[in-house]
Symmetry: C2
Subunit: 367 residues, 2 copies
Amino acid sequence: VSPVLVAGRHLRTIWLAADGGAVEIIDQTRLPHELAIVRITDVAEMALAIREMWVRGAPLIGAAAAYGMALALRADASDAGLERAATLLGAARPTAVNLAWAVDEVRRAVATLPPGARAEAAFARAAAIADDDVATCRAIGEHGAALLAELHARAGGGARAVRVLTHCNAGWLATVDWGTALAPVYAAARRGIPVHVLVEETRPRNQGMLTAWELGEEGVAHEVIVDNAGGHFLQRGEVDVVIVGTDRTTRAGDVCNKIGTYQKAVAARDAGVPFYAAVPHSSIDWRVTDWRAIPIEERAASEVSEVWGVDERGARARVRVTPARSPVRNPAFDVTPARLVTGLVTERGVCAATPAGLAGLYPERAA
Amino acid sequence: VSPVLVAGRHLRTIWLAADGGAVEIIDQTRLPHELAIVRITDVAEMALAIREMWVRGAPLIGAAAAYGMALALRADASDAGLERAATLLGAARPTAVNLAWAVDEVRRAVATLPPGARAEAAFARAAAIADDDVATCRAIGEHGAALLAELHARAGGGARAVRVLTHCNAGWLATVDWGTALAPVYAAARRGIPVHVLVEETRPRNQGMLTAWELGEEGVAHEVIVDNAGGHFLQRGEVDVVIVGTDRTTRAGDVCNKIGTYQKAVAARDAGVPFYAAVPHSSIDWRVTDWRAIPIEERAASEVSEVWGVDERGARARVRVTPARSPVRNPAFDVTPARLVTGLVTERGVCAATPAGLAGLYPERAA
């Protein structure tokens, strides 16, 4: 049973269809206005779903890629089919390390098996990756909730809410369940700690609306603000803590995340507010030592020049906001250097954003 | 003759109609998609035009308020009429100090005159305020262009453009002509210095699109980015200087400007990029000593929840982006403390953002 309620139903973000013939996902480009569930029947569709961000969020991209590998192997379990699928999915998005990680996990799980056994093993590995993500996020929630409880107590406790600022969506929609940055919020709220979340809209794709929708469904107090306003509220003492997710965190603690995260971190530092990233093990890139080496995805200009929403009749619609002749640049991620990060909330506990901090929690990887 | 070309025409942003019966403005809510000129015939219309941001930008708000006073006195030149107009216009928007300054200027110019002479004197004072703004902005452009020339030379000169990042619109649309933050860009471009401007869209109202439109009309190279991306380009060494306008700058050099400016200043500081505000004398508030005392306008939630643009047929349209039930907060301005400001570009030259810096340029006011 999935712990997150949507209109009273328990949902994960990805699951094997009841008939076993497809993988089902939520088309997140239709949220927050419509909850649309889509059947994905082959690897090309899954690659499209990842590229077009029907599924998004580093942990969910990982699970989706794993299921994409399984769908591919059901159609063609040869070595060539395996490599084609890995290449196709691996190229769908460049920045989140979870994608490459999950593709490798499935490849390793099936490589030595005979073709006839590969699809079943891949589906099993994908399901295990999904279940592992749920357990990881739940643990991040518990460790993060302890942080929020401490901030609540330090602010005097009682009805005074802990005020969290977050950017983008690192909620259950970005993972298989629970979320990363929002898992502590959900866990704290269930412990009875009052929490209030300032939600940045997160242009250009407005994933903050996914966060606002999640919080609304869960009944967590929140307000939507433009990305420009986060610094102001930090400066005015209206934020107790910033928590964000990550698409890739280096072994040194540098946090690559949605464009705009870096600005928030420098503003938090200037305002003296702690800044945490919630980091599942699958988002740690142990190979990258220089964060400048992380590829930053440049997405289509239309994401900036056109804004999607609903019109007055509630129908999905878009408007163009830029002058017709003006060029656009659209980097999708940035990197917050470790020096600006107060700590990393992992499934094994909270650590300093340093090589030693991460090595202390993951000695088997840091060697 | 106005120096800024729009589709080959010379335009200011506000002028007395040819028939003398009204003041004409550009309805800036229709830009960048449509250039709509509106006749304003009485003070109530002018207050509406300011409140609804058909005219916006601190210097232009000042000129518009001055013309609004003149229109009011044409209808009712009594002392009571004068005070009613001052109250109505003064309440239209709270943050820009130019508004109160211009209302006071007109009030002082007519207070001792007999009612029959007031309207004419007020129109004359309004025209003088407008002309003074043009001269002020031109001088800011010259001083700022010298800065850009120096940065160009320091980067090796030649075809390598000076890369400017700006937020909101502090171009000719925000003033009577030339602009404040963009005046140096225009002046430098006319001197033959290659300039490239990264233009932040500036949610929630997307005044960056006005900047992009202005630059396009003038033929200045530019790219539109989301507000989240400015920090990334600063961090990656793709910006030589940040220049913004101001709605109110204190005698200590603290810069109140469009929401999001503060985040840009902390990012510029972190990245080691100089951050300048272009400050006409009319935007300096000599009375405020603590910037926390500046009233920060909170505008309607609909500015955040709904985005205006044009639909596929080119008609003005809006879409709702937020979840229907999510509350919104919408502060319109923030304050960048003087410690983050490299310098102030005034019509009298460039000075440090300090009490001594401003006092050195304006000894008659600082006493």
